[in-house]
Amino acid sequence: MSSNAITIPGTQIQARPWVDELHQWLTTVDHKRLGILYMLSALLFLVIGGVEALIIRIQLMHSHNNFVSPEVFNRMFTMHGTTMIFFVAMPVLFGFANYLVPLMIGARDMAFPRLNAFSFWLSFLGGLLLYFSFVGGSGLYGAGNAPDVGWWAYAPLGARAFSPGHSSDYWTLSLLVSGFGSIGTAINIIATILCMRCPGMKLGRMPLLAWLYLVQAGMVLIAITPLSAAQIMLLIDRYLGGHFFDTQAGGSAVLWMHFFWIFGHPEVYVLVIPAFAFLSEIIPVFSRKPIFGYPVMVAATVAIGLVSTSVWAHHMFSIGMNSYASSFFAITTMAVGIPTGIKIFNWIGTMWGGRIQFKVPMLFCIGFLFQFLIAGLTGIMQAAVPFDWQLTLSYFVVAHFHYVIVGGILFAIFGAFYYWYPKMTGRMLSETLGKWHFWLFLIGFHLTFDVMHIPGLLGMPRRIYTYEPGRGWDTLNFIITIGAFIQAIAILVFVANLIISYFKGAEAGNDPWDAWTLEWSTSSPPPAYNFATVPTVASRRPLWDLKHPEDPDSRYE
């Protein structure tokens, strides 16, 4: 199993001209290439969304700043949120799913390779459509402009009376188009995991990553569908005289909020479950122990998936729900904390008694654990509804969800990049640059988002382009901005590491981390067909069995 590449004697592989190479990439249906395309497009949008964040931070550096106009500021936070969620987080996570799921379950490709390519290109074109608004947002009337309705586009702000021109149509259409891409990929992931596993890989023997992506893909189907429906209803309102959300004609603004958050909250778990998946693969390998409580981890994930479909209105505690509805959403929201807590404890249980190796992927995972703990606890604070009446719509919330998305999800994604980059390219990422990246990003992150909680407690609302002096917000905002720039430098180090290591990194070999799942049994990068012979597995850690024939896992199952 260790050498799986087929070499045909006597054939010379000639370097193809770059046009051919490009054509290969553009027309590929190979799950690994599509995975990499997803990741590259996500990195592109990460840089763009990051620049938007920096513009926001420069503007808020001190009170009454005039770096950008209010119009530009509102476009920046709308584009930043939309870009980061739909065109960075979703694609990069789908990219890892594409790359890893078939390799880890011993399959040669996804179930529907052409649907896979179609879905990627839909998502990518959705991103281009969003940014085309800068050129074509005002239609025929002049220069373009980007949508400025916020990433929730609360009704009636998205109605034609308040959003003339076409800028918010680009927002609607881009989410609609990329939403169809997400649905296609989710169906593909589910079909692949249920139908394409190699012999011996029962559901209970799948790597946790595959299990978690199965739940995540199911949640994508639940979450994206109401969002797409709402976007279509909004288009009907805007162009066919519908009155779903048009309050001036008797429509309901609250209906839009429900539709958006029925998407929006499961979406948080759509993003965080893959992060859990990365941790569940990386922590065992660098602790040199199997995951603690595999069945409980699966059950906790399914529980999170189920409960998280009934917590959406905790984004809406200030809209004046009655006290019974508020209480219901308070208890469901707090209840999500239970399976999430189980997961954190099980990861600690995995490290407990192990021999932890502090390689860069593991550093990012430990960072995740600390930050996700805090993010979970500030989440509990906001589930206490009256407390949330003060916290919601303030900078405290902004700090909280960046703690989840940056301190949690993005840290896990960085860990995953360092862990699987050798498999994807055949080269190791530089540990030295990796440690610079980790520590710079950690410092920048805490400087920005720890401090950001305080202006929220001091009454600073989110989405304001400027503020009055004398409120006690100036110094804090200045520190937050410095932290943002340190994070930006860390991202540059990361991108430099990706590029430099591609050309000059150490050879990785098949299995640089001495790991246990199937992707490490084939060459790095794997051949197009993944495995020369389809593997057969007898336990959750097939490579452990291979490396320790005297004490295989399969004996305990």
């Binding site: 509102n74 122990k289 595999y294 200030s318 021999r355 003060q390 719509l393 382009y465």
Partner: protein
């Protein structure tokens, strides 16, 4: 469980509340004893804000304990079980799980959730389901793109941006109940030291109340993104002593004064489009799109708190609203200097 330990808990809560208050007050550099208050959620001055702050401290204590325990476990396992050079090549004992331990860390969080939920539900009910007492002041607050309209239906007053309410003492509570409406997009009424925020949503009337126990100016602002000038939709609540409030009410109930010297300015006001949007009681001007100007000079600020109500600011605002508040819906009327001066002097008579 809450009741059993209530006295210790209360002491605990008060101490921590004090800590939070002093910590945040340092940042806010709140002028103590002055009549102007900050926006610190841990410095409540009214019953809803006070019950929220108490619950917040309770939640902070519980989450703080969880944090310390889990953080310590994490640090311990990272330090204690770090790989060492001497175990190269050897693998640790392979442990797959433990039902007892996993049950323990499922049941304890469930208990914590139950306690937190009960505390939360009690406060939700205590704030949200309070019936309106007979002596309460009624106010209808209407959110507009980037300003606040306040109507006192029982008193026949219409004003803007600066809400006046009476102070409420424990013996004779005079709480204020606000009905929240919106004329256009969503807004949110947030004065952190008086109450939590509640949204103003078109076609979805909401209600909130406050019974401030201290006098002074309490500031806040719109918290729900409502368009270009969301940032400069500021709020001022003036909590007045009983007699000051009555005097204010009597003054606001009068129609606009007419002064002979301001007649030219009034003509300019009525000749231009001003009166389509603004009302001046006792004159033909009855527009409702912009703030009521009958007693403009009784307000300390203009443009929803974006500028102080001074002669120069008023003139600049009428000449070119975008200079103070870009994106404001008030158009620049391109008045001549003479007309501008006339209209400003007219405005200055509207006390």
């Amino acid at each position: 469980m809450l009741r059993m330990k209530s006295s210790t808990l209360r002491f605990f809560e008060q101490t921590i509340l004090l800590l939070f208050w002093s910590a945040t007050a340092v940042w806010a550099s709140e002028p103590k004893g002055s009549s102007s208050h900050g926006t610190n959620i841990f410095a409540p001055a009214s019953t809803p804000a006070k019950s929220i702050a108490d619950l917040s401290v309770f939640v902070l204590v519980i989450t703080g304990i969880i944090f310390v325990v889990v953080f310590a476990l994490l640090i311990y396992s990272v330090v204690k079980f770090r790989g060492r050079a001497m175990d190269a090549g050897r693998e640790p004992a392979q442990v797959y799980g433990s039902t007892q331990i996993e049950l323990a860390w499922t049941i304890i969080p469930i208990l914590i959730v139950v306690v937190l939920f009960l505390a939360t539900a009690r406060v939700i009910h205590a704030i949200q389901d309070v019936p309106e007492p007979a002596g309460a002041v009624d106010v209808i607050a209407i959110g507009h793109q980037y300003w606040w309209e306040f109507r006192y239906p029982k008193l026949g007053i219409v004003t803007a941006n600066e809400l006046h309410i009476p102070v409420s003492d424990r013996e004779h509570p005079t709480p204020t109940f606000l009905q929240l409406l919106s004329a256009d997009t969503d807004h949110s009424f947030w004065v952190p030291e008086l109450a939590g925020k509640t949204d103003l949503i078109p076609n979805h009337p909401n209600r909130m109340w406050m019974d401030p126990q201290r006098t002074g100016i309490f500031v806040g602002q719109c918290a729900q993104y409502c368009g270009i000038q969301h940032a400069k939709m500021l709020l001022r609540v003036s909590v007045d002593r009983e007699d000051d409030f009555s005097a204010w009410v009597r003054a606001q109930q009068k129609v606009a004064v007419e002064e002979a010297g301001a007649i030219e300015g009034r003509r300019v006001f009525e000749r231009n489009a001003c009166m389509n949007c603004h009302a001046v009681d006792g004159t033909p001007a009855d527009g409702r799109f912009g703030p009521d100007l009958t007693h403009l000079m009784s307000r300390a600020t203009i443009a929803a708190g974006a500028a102080e109500n001074t002669h120069d600011n008023l003139r600049l605002w009428i000449q070119n609203p975008s200079a103070i508040k870009p994106g404001s819906l008030m158009p620049a009327m391109k008045l001549s200097d003479a007309d501008l001066d006339a209209i400003v002097s007219y405005m200055e008579t509207l006390r």
